[in-house]
């Protein structure tokens, strides 16, 4: 047994009575989580065979956790999916996965054309318990091989192009990435974590791996805006570790020091680099916490770099240093390695890198070359080896021979009084290659003219990066995880 199955097996022996997973409705200790997961495994084995895929379209909850471990103990492939995914994208996903079972809640859009025998409704943990009790399924451990390359997960990531890709992850990937994360965070059995992250992404899932491997408790919640419930859970379960993405902390820490979370000793934030004002607000709200900014992607089993807390101010804007046993390089278009302070594409190599994409050999070969994952992220590193995320490869363009990094310009534009949101794209130009076009969403009541806007930019960005053209828009199109859809912007403003 490898990865989550072996960790949970060990945890149930070492900490049988200790609280493992809890949400606002139920809680399980390690012993019960292990036993119930085995019952689910044997229930799944009645329905299918090892290697079958099980789609779990539930919010992060005790039920989702039991189904997740049950699927792995059955030797099957867990496919966590965001229950709010639109029907059209879900339909495409299910045809590609051909699952043994789709498990969702009753308000989940099951397509009428799907084979109803493959559907299973679980609203509350009690529903799952009832299914297992009526079948009187025994909790014995199915035979499991130790094949480290056996497929455990298919995780769908939309990236910025909106086209879903199924990233495959195996036991070796998880063993490597959790060892690397743990080296930097040192979660232990006295910790209790809380997160409002989604169960359908590897950042959220990595909490189940840390919970099982280190014996730490984990609290999850379905609706992250229910602040009173979150405070109650955090207090009642003595939570001391909180994790999330920047906008979670924008809500949790909006009162700054007026509302402190004194018990919190460790905070992690990933998904986007938190802004300077947000970091100040988090410092005030979590006075006793080590705050780790982190970066990674699904293809790297969630994690590539972590910033040590003592560097939060000294290395402002950095996403930190590579985690253990991960090699990183910055390369130019020709694949040559670049030196410090030179922007280029980040490539990564390590045991945490995915073996490839589900049923997409072509994309796998284009993305993983000679064992190196081409992340498509534009980064630079400084002379001490700290990495800085600058943008996405598909958003970068050249203007007047200069490499233009939209995210860097956008960050400056969003700080301008009167600008609520901004995106920068390249518009083809016979002389410059591309003109720098800023798409601006103004605050209500502000009516800056394009000319004034360009003048402000000149002051802040200098001649090279000042937009040649400014257009105004109602909204900047973004994907479900908040990333700017440059492809849609180009379609709208460049054709």
């Amino acid at each position: 047994m490898l990865g989550p199955c072996s960790w949970l097996n060990q945890a149930s022996l070492r900490w049988p009575e200790k609280e493992a997973i809890f949400d606002d409705e139920s809680s399980l200790n390690f012993g019960d989580l292990y036993e119930t997961s085995l019952r689910v495994a044997n229930w799944l084995r009645l329905k299918g065979r090892p290697g079958d895929r099980v789609v779990i379209a539930l919010p992060f909850s005790v039920s989702a956790t039991v189904l997740y471990f049950g699927t792995l103990f059955a030797g099957m492939v867990a496919v966590p999916v965001d229950p709010r995914l639109g029907l059209d994208r879900l339909g495409f996903l299910l045809e590609e996965i051909d699952p043994l079972l789709v498990i969702g809640s009753s308000d989940f859009d099951f397509k009428p054309s799907w084979d109803s025998r493959r559907l299973c409704v679980v609203n509350r943990y009690q529903d799952l318990h009832a299914i297992i009790r009526t079948l009187n399924v025994k909790p014995d451990l199915p035979a499991l091989d130790d094949e480290p390359l056996r497929l455990l997960h298919i995780i769908y990531t939309s990236g910025t192009t909106g086209q879903s890709k199924g990233v495959m992850l195996n036991g070796a990937n998880l063993e490597a990435v959790v060892a690397g994360i743990q080296k930097a965070l040192s979660i232990n059995e006295d910790d209790t974590m809380f997160t409002a992250l989604s169960f359908a992404h590897t950042y959220g899932l990595s909490h189940l791996w840390l919970m099982a491997r280190e014996g730490a408790g984990l609290g999850v919640v379905q609706d992250m805006t229910r602040m009173a419930l979150i405070r109650k859970i955090v207090a009642e379960h003595h939570v001391d570790v909180i994790t999330g993405v920047p906008y979670h902390f924008a809500l949790f820490t909006r009162r700054g020091e007026k509302e402190k979370w004194d018990r919190i000793r460790l905070v992690t934030v990933a998904g986007d680099a938190p802004s300077k004002p947000l970091i100040r607000q988090m410092r005030a709200s979590f006075p006793n916490a080590r705050i780790h900014v982190m970066y990674g992607l699904t293809e790297a089993s969630t994690r590539l770099t972590i910033l040590p807390p003592e560097d939060l101010e000294r290395k402002e804007g950095s996403v930190g240093l590579p985690i253990e046993d991960v090699e990183l390089r910055v390369i130019d278009e020709k694949g040559e390695e670049l030196g410090p302070h030179q922007a280029g594409e980040l490539i990564a190599r390590g045991a945490n890198i995915t073996p490839g994409y589900w049923k997409d050999e072509l994309l796998t070969r284009k993305t993983i070359i000679g064992g190196w994952l081409h992340t498509g992220d534009i980064v630079k590193k400084d002379e001490e080896g700290y990495y800085y995320h600058l943008g996405r490869k598909d958003s970068v363009f050249k203007s007047g021979g200069e490499k233009i990094l939209p995210e860097a310009i956008e960050r400056v534009l969003r700080e301008v009084e009167g600008i609520r949101d901004a995106a920068v794209i390249g518009k083809e130009d016979p002389y410059r290659g591309n003109t720098i076009c800023a798409v601006i969403v103004q605050e209500s009541g502000s009516n800056l003219s394009p000319g004034e806007m360009v003048a402000i930019c000149q002051g802040k960005l200098g001649r090279l990066w000042t937009p040649h053209e400014v257009v105004f828009a109602e909204e900047i199109p973004r994907s479900s995880n908040g990333k700017i859809r440059y492809d849609l912007l180009r379609k709208k403003f460049c054709t």
């Binding site: 992250m224 805006t225 602040m227 906008y247 209500s444 479900s480």
Partner: protein, 90 residues
């Protein structure tokens, strides 16, 4: 009040569309949890109110009508209405 709240939402979240109805569920207009966080922060900023944690819950800001009612109660210092019970209106 409804007009002022509607203007704030339609301006700040164009995905809801200009002719957003007072009882339309924002969730069905593409509202994500990221947008609900922005809504809470912008209501506090726009109306100078402090939205207490215990006042945030399923259905509190689910429609324009409910948001306007909530803001009016906060500004007048009146008690906040209970959260809707039925699953549909959340």
């Amino acid at each position: 009040m409804e007009e002022r709240v509607k203007e704030l939402i339609v301006k700040r979240f164009p995905c809801t569309g200009p002719n957003l109805g007072y009882t339309d569920l924002l969730r069905e207009k593409g509202f994500t949890s990221l947008m609900f966080v922005e809504l809470i922060l912008s209501l506090e900023e726009e109306f100078g109110i402090e939205i207490l944690d215990e006042e945030i819950g399923p259905g509190r800001f689910s429609t324009l009508e409910r948001i306007a009612e909530y803001v009016r109660c906060k500004l007048d210092g009146r008690p906040i209405p209970a959260l809707p019970v039925c699953q549909e209106c959340r």
